[in-house]
Amino acid sequence: MERLAPRSTADVAAIVADCTARGHRLNVIGAGTRAGLGHPVTADAVLDLGAFAGIESYEPGEQIITLGPATPLAELDAVLTDSGQRLAFDPPDTGPLFGEAPGLGTIGGAVAANLAGPARPRAGAARDHLLGIEAVSGRGEVFKAGGRVVKNVTGYDLPKLLAGSFGTLAVMTRLTLRLGGRPPGTVTAALLDIAPAEAGHLMQRIAGSGLEPVAIAYLPAEVAVRERHPLAAAALLVRFEGPASALPERLADLQRLVGTAAPVEAIEGPDSDDTWAAVRDVAGLLPDGERALWRLSLPPAAGCGVAMDLTAALPGLRWFADWAGARLWLAVPAGADAAAETVRAAARAAGGHALLFRAPLTVKARVPVFEPPAAGVGAIERSLRAAFDPAGILNPGKMGPA
């Protein structure tokens, strides 16, 4: 397939305008490491944004960075770490989930898929950190939106609309993101041998407390003891951040809060960071054979219950919960349809929805990756698509039939 490699925003605009005029469809990629996410794109050419890599301006004092979308996350992370900062939404490295090497994903891909790590309930997702954009619409026009400050209500929040749109509305050529400071100290509390039902309740008590946990996850035994999760048993994990001197008190407070449920064990230093990186990257459910991976969004208190119901209904299911139960990751035998009906029905009944994060193409051909839109919403989405990309040339099919 033809591969177009624009070097400037003007190049992108010219290409898109031309392709729109000719009805040529474009598969827009950064590093291409998240190609397995969503449906396969049907395109006539690849629009490779690889040249849009690098940091344009970084103002640590303002906690703001402007950069090209193809900047690798690993490179960005190294620069930010040097200044004691980070992306607070902590995007996962999804490469290994799709059979790619780790460490290749770009910031643009993380934004386009609106990814977020375990700190999402407190810190937000990519959408909450994308302050401004420059982009090329499907009409081949260059536009900007948002700004370079956090507090901004000047015009519609198009950065939020483009975050999570999988490149189907516009081609982002420049991103401005807000940054967070790295905390002076961090510690993970582990409560071991907790059963799923009890974990579901405990996580809500902890999340609803004044302890300000940064992340709360639950790993059932079969996931906890896998590679990269060197825990001895089912584990409820709670991450705290703050001045190092204040952390022991948080562990003591947590022990008081959970009482006799389990002793609080501290995981410190690099072990703590590794544990959360594994949760973030879904390492406990890395592909083994023909398994499909589901990502569920649920009301937090419903998470563990849904997982237990599905465990009973689907032999061979493995799972863990992040975001205090609001995010559930499920690995199921791929079969013909990845048990889509059962999984989606359970998510809906609990007030949530499910995304088929990874599956063989044969499954994706039968099962929509994204939850079908609710009443009234589908028509708005189609109108928006038509407003931004009237010829439907940007990543057609990525989010489902165009």
Binding site: R3, G84, P121, T154, Y156, Q204, G208, I380
Partner: protein
């Protein structure tokens, strides 16, 4: 400012009696206001310099009634201005001569409190503060806290993406919203966002409707996240001999990785106005005052207060007080919270501006405001949400003096131009409305604005919902939608291809 609103549709105005009769058939008798005297109450919002009597006001009680009204208005080509409590400072709820006002005042019930999932669902006419009041006994609060929180409604907060003094740590409305029910101009009812989940499938419609100033749809139900009340709260109050020193202290606190619940700054005029008004014990001779609030687990608050105190001292604080006591802390805040009435006491009228700038540019922007103040011959008191660079200059004027309003508006426009010039934006939390509409060109070019207006067209193709706000020039959706094709000749022949 000479404000041009969309040309009223004479036929719609002519058909007012018929419209009123039709609305009366669609809604209960008490839900349609047509009497001139009663309409007077709706002719402006908190931007009181502009008034316009609407054709009618409707006060529906249900989503179905809202849908009925909107469908009827679409059929008749009648413009609709949604309104919450009318506390907008940017004129977002200014009526139109040929439009009706759709008040959400009767959508005033809390529908569901779900502490296990840490969220609350309410109708849009519930006040911001009522959400917190409903859950504070259980140890929760709703974090965004605009100064008008006793009066402003959650629906209005969604429309303007409101902030408040605590959004430095807890985020703006958009970061605390989970789901909405909205009604489109054609009567379509749509649930957007995730309900009680953190994200939603498909495009981020929730993100784009938040802060859309009533131009995309009418919000009829809101689900927001609740935050656990902090274990401990502490506050520090420090005076500085120069604004620069105070600004540098703010940058140093944030740069140290500390995330205070809020950092507020007041300049000398604002300090003295507050002292005259309610004597909060501020240092009258200070050029700038900082209030830093820290909250969180008790031990951490103490540790962070020590760090902040040291930073304030390092940056030359001329006076410092700190407290963990609730009454004393509220005393620190009393003057800041009363800044608007305090300024109201020393001037017959004032305009409240709302730009945001990169924090580091604060001293420079304040210097510019001071020189503009001299040029225009009008005083300006400055209060800011300093932690996030959100300025609220209060321009003092007297509407009864010939050209003072015009001068105040020109002064305000120059301040906002300065904000944009240093890399900031026209509005941080008050919205564009009519107030900053004609300045949009300072930040956005015609293409940027066309892209935004096409988004509007996707929701409201006839442009009947709150027209005349946000966009300086209105284009018909048909014209905006046209695809400009330029011959189909390859203009990128020299590109690398593989």
């Amino acid at each position: 400012m000479s404000l041009t609103m969309p040309v009223p549709d004479g036929a719609v105005i002519e058909g007012r009696a018929d419209l009123l009769a039709h609305l009366a058939r669609l809604l209960p008798a008490d839900a349609v206001i047509g009497a001139d005297s009663a309409l007077a109450a709706y002719e402006c919002d908190a931007l009181t310099a502009y008034v316009q009597r609407p054709l009618a006001v409707v006060l529906p009680r249900t989503t179905e009634e809202v849908a009925r009204v909107l469908r009827a208005c679409l059929e008749r080509g009648v413009r609709v201005v949604p309104r919450g409590a009318g506390t907008s400072l940017s004129g977002g709820a200014l009526p139109l001569a040929d439009g009706i006002v759709l008040s959400l005042a009767r959508f005033n019930r809390i529908l569901d409190i779900d502490l296990d999932n840490r969220c609350i669902t309410a109708q849009p006419g519930v006040t911001n503060l009522a959400l917190t009041k409903a859950v504070e006994a259980d140890g929760f609060f709703y974090a965004p806290d605009p100064s008008s929180q006793i009066a402003c409604t959650i629906g209005g907060n969604v429309a303007e993406n409101s902030g408040g003094v605590h959004c430095l740590k807890y985020g703006l409305t958009t970061h605390n919203l989970l789901g909405l029910e909205i009604v489109l101009m054609d009567g379509t009812v749509a649930r957007i966002g995730g309900g009680k989940t953190l994200d939603a499938p498909g495009y981020d419609l929730l993100g784009v409707v938040t802060g859309s100033e009533g131009l995309l749809g009418v919000v009829t139900e809101v689900t927001v996240r609740l935050t656990p009340a902090p274990q401990g709260i502490g506050a520090l109050l420090a005076g500085f001999a120069t604004v620069e020193a105070a600004g540098e202290a703010v940058a140093a606190i944030v740069g140290a990785g500390i995330v205070p619940a809020g950092i507020e700054m007041m300049d000398n005029l604002a300090i003295n106005a507050a002292e005259d008004f309610c004597a909060p014990g501020y240092p009258r001779d200070a050029a700038a005052l900082l209030i830093v609030e820290l909250d969180g687990p008790a031990g951490e608050v103490e540790a962070q207060m020590d760090r902040v105190s040291a930073i304030l001292a390092d940056h030359g604080a001329t006076s410092q007080k700190r407290t963990r006591d609730a009454a004393e802390r509220l005393g620190f805040w009393a003057g800041r919270k009363a800044a608007f009435p305090a300024v109201g006491r020393i001037s017959p009228d004032y305009l409240c501006m709302d730009g945001t700038i990169p924090r580091a540019r604060l001293p420079e922007v304040l210097g510019r405001i001071a020189s503009l103040s001299a040029d225009y011959g009008l005083r300006c008191a400055n209060v800011f949400h300093a932690g996030d660079g959100n300025l609220h200059p209060l321009i003092l004027y007297d509407a009864n003096v010939d050209d003072e309003l015009a001068r105040a508006e020109a002064f305000g426009a120059d301040i906002l131009r300065t904000c944009v010039a240093v890399g900031g934006v026209l509005t941080g939390e008050h919205g564009v409305g009519i107030e900053k509409r004609d300045l949009m060109g300072e930040m956005f070019d015609d293409t940027d604005l066309a892209v935004q207006q096409r988004l509007k067209c996707a929701f409201d193709p006839k442009g009947l919902l709150n027209p005349g706000k946000v966009f300086p020039v209105l284009h018909a959706c048909v014209e905006l939608g046209r695809l400009k094709v330029s011959g189909g000749k390859l203009r990128f022949a020299d590109l690398p291809r593989f």
